[in-house]
């Protein structure tokens, strides 16, 4: 039996004008907007119903670690440009350069998680678990889901840097499209953080 091939993974689909993989990832991102949208909506609803935010008094920026979160914002922004450079390297036919930038993207994702680990462990040390109050429930739910997305990105990007690279020898254009799709997801994860950071830490 011949190998089953998903059609239009390289050439644009005649109806949409884009390859199926790219269309698929955009539909997935649309569903992700709704997932995070539901959490943002709940956050606003919970917050407007509280007399004080955080409930124990003070400001979000005093309770949460703004310098660490600012560092993490810079880390994610940097990982977004390294991801673009990884894709651009594929477009220019330079696989070693792709490996370099993709490796940097994954390393930065780990840096983000390590910083988050320090933030979380400090909160737990103080007894500020999600069960503590609405403020920490919202904080841990939203940053936790975002953190899971970072882990997902590491897995996909790790595959593309490792075993997935084999496709380059067979069909470089198909491989480049995969890198582009992984990039779209990764920029979306950055984009979510761009809204999470001010709404949780600064306001």
């Amino acid at each position: 039996m011949s190998e089953t091939v998903i059609p239009y993974m390289v050439k644009p689909h005649p109806v949409t004008g884009i390859p199926n993989g790219k269309f698929g990832i955009w539909l997935f991102l649309a569903s992700e907007v709704m997932l995070f949208g539901a959490l943002f909506s709940s956050y606003v609803l919970i917050r407007t119903g509280m007399p004080h935010w955080p409930p124990e008094g003070g400001l979000s920026s005093e309770v949460l670690n703004v310098p660490l979160a600012t560092l993490n914002t810079a880390v994610l922004i940097t990982s977004s440009i390294t991801m673009v450079l990884a894709w651009a390297s594929c477009k220019m036919g330079n696989l070693p350069r792709f490996r370099l930038w993709m490796g940097a993207t994954i390393a930065l994702a780990f840096v983000f998680l390590v910083v988050k680990y320090f933030e979380y462990s400090h909160k737990f040390h103080l007894g500020h678990t999600p069960a503590h109050d609405n403020f920490y429930a919202v904080y841990f739910t939203m940053t936790g889901l975002h953190g899971l997305h970072i882990v997902g990105g590491i897995i996909v990007n790790g595959y593309l840097l490792g075993p997935g690279t084999k496709l380059w020898a067979k069909d470089p254009e198909h491989f480049t499209n995969r890198v582009e799709n992984a990039g779209l997801y990764w920029h979306f994860v950055d984009l979510v953080w761009i809204f999470l950071f001010p709404s949780l830490y600064l306001l």
Binding site: G37, S42, A88, F188, P198, S199, L203
Partner: protein, 104 residues
Amino acid sequence: MDAAQHEDVSKHMGQYYVVFVALLCLTAVTVGVSYLHLARPAAIAVALVIATVKAGLVAAVFMHLISERKVIYAVLIITAVFFAVLLLLPNLTTFEHHSGLPGT
């Protein structure tokens, strides 16, 4: 990869670096403004405007939305409408009870 594509990508490299620097600067601005302790409505407005500009830059340049196919715009417009409903509908129910803004 053909030469034309090669040239096309290298032409955009400068743009990527400009957006990268702009994103870092806007992050510094949003953190800086938070230390001014503006009145809450102004603080929310400034933070959301800066975040929207940053998100717009990422989407337009890094995600290539500036030169994308119509079908993706169509998907995103529908998403934006439903996102707005998702955000506004539950919260509209509380606005009549709370005349103040979040956290006041």
